[in-house]
């Protein structure tokens, strides 16, 4: 299964549905989905790696927490993830290193302000050939 994401409607906000063969492979398309909610997010010059070591009660919460980190990285540090290298993604722990680039202000257009990645209908489930995650972001 090729990792992929799609956006779906939610009354006032937006949902991201992500599919991949393995849990770690969910991370990259989930991040791309978040960026596509925000608008056209383009990375410019390299800005170095960033690491997150997250613990939680379940894998879906860890994915939510990971996207929350990406949101802050973009909003506060103007950095965009360009590559994802997860070392651990289990039910209770996610350790991941990401490569980042500076947000290219000229080529990017940020259309929507994401307030938060919510817990609403948050889910990762097994599907034939892999996993499907559902996240809803508050706009």
């Amino acid at each position: 299964m090729e990792p992929a994401y799609e956006l779906f409607d939610h009354t006032a906000d937006m949902g991201i549905r992500v599919r991949a063969a393995t849990l770690p492979e969910l991370l990259a398309p989930a991040g791309e989905g978040l960026y596509s909610v925000i608008g056209n997010v383009v990375a410019g010059e390299e800005a170095g790696p960033a690491g997150f070591d997250l613990t939680g009660r379940e894998s879906a919460e860890l994915l939510r927490d990971y996207l929350a980190e990406l949101l802050i990285l973009l909003e506060r540090n103007h950095r965009v993830v360009t590559a994802v290298d997860p070392s651990i993604y289990t039910e209770h722990r996610l350790a991941v290193t990401v490569q980042t680039g500076r947000l290219d202000g000229k080529r990017s257009s940020l259309l929507r302000e994401v307030k938060a990645i919510t817990y609403h209908e948050l889910d990762i489930r097994l599907i034939p050939g892999g996993y499907e995650a559902t996240l809803i972001v508050d706009i």
Binding site: L7, F8, D9, H10, T11, A12, D13, M14, I38, G39, R57, A68, I72, E75, R76, H78, S109, L110, L111, R112, E113, K115, A116, T118, Y119, H120, I136, D138, I139
Partner: protein, 486 residues
Amino acid sequence: MPEPYTGPLERIDETRWRIPKSYKEGMRVDGIIYADDILIEAVKQDKSPDQVANVAHLPGIVKYSLAMPDIHWGYGFCIGGVAATDPKQGGVISPGGVGYDINCGVRLLSTNIRLEDAQPRMERLVETLFKTVPCGVGRGGIIKFGKKELQRLMTDGSPYVVNKGYGWDGDIEATEAGGCINDARPDFLSNRALERGFDQCGTLGSGNHFIEVQLIEHIDNPQAAKAMGLTEGNISVMIHSGSRGLGYQVCDDAIKELRNIPRKYGIDLPDKQLVCAPVESPEGQRYLGAMGAAANYAWANRQILTHLARQAFAEVFGQPAERLGMSLIYDVAHNIAKMEPYDVGGKQTELCVHRKGATRAFPPGHPELPDRYKSIGQPVLVPGDMGRSSYVLVGRPGAMEHTFGSCCHGAGRRLSRGAAIRAAKGRSIRRELLDRGVIAKARGRTGLDEEQPDAYKDVLQVVDVLHAADISHRVARLRPVGVIKG
């Protein structure tokens, strides 16, 4: 597409529908939804009535779990949700009953400018507002606050920025709670919340936040309109914004921190977005303190936006804002939890009232109202959409009796963002608004498409339900003539 609601809805009267507490095991009280025959059909199209029923499970909930007629699907609580809990009966505080944008709210400024005098300068006015007020994703504020100043701002709310010169003395009196929640605890905020908020005070944001120049098109209640300084044919300014990234993060942190707290106190919840803690517990007090700080930040934010709007008007009309009569009519919060006294079984009881997409609507004579509104009731500001109308209402005694002093906060969305964009394909929403006499400017390409008038219910239908229920009465109808959005 969301699944429709299939549970019970029993008609109580012309404006109310009951979800009996027998619907779900664990419901402590009934759910009550305010809607007419037409609105209730829209309400059934998603699971928001189930969210009303879920809120009825909260420990210490008093009388009923309520939803206003602008109800739609939210997180934990529905948008338009109102619930009061009694701390002495184990009542809880739930961040999901406040929402991510803590103290998102609306304020309205009067002017003495006639529409015909404003019209020739409207394009320049909209441009000047757009240039003067930071708006859109990632835009920082013009007015910077140091770390200590920010702490003071979150402790003291809008009076702090008024004292710094970003407002007039009368602004404080015309703000709900005087623009300050006492017992706010900025020290309870995470570094991340402070980081997200440090440069955003005095910014509009994006999404459904706006500044609108509105014509006072029709007066329904001349006595109340006079007390508020609303004159038919004049223009007014409506500002809609909240606590920006700081408030979003306070909510996000709280939901995470409270995840295990219901179990600690033996609370069984049907939805984990309803995480909560007893009001009197250390965890509950911690959230209330942090929420208070974010609420104060939001009031300071709207106060600075007011200052910037006055600057823009002064520049365009070549007169000081005082000469243009730009007084603050009122400022209301519509995402907040507050301790307020109510009559419960004949006894005055301090309750924790959650308003999530609902506005306070105190009646005439309420002790919290400024003198000039004592005889008419609290002004309630209900924005509609940027093509049709917004309304000014006043609170009525029925609000104290039936809705914990609360009423609706807006029109309520009808279309999702995706559906609105699809509906805008091949059209120019900007041009359509212009044809309706509205000059609109937005930073984002999709902003106007997503927020187009058709994306919202007709606000008149919403306010009429509460007018008929004697919760709030119409005072004036306002029509947008100039809009800026992020």
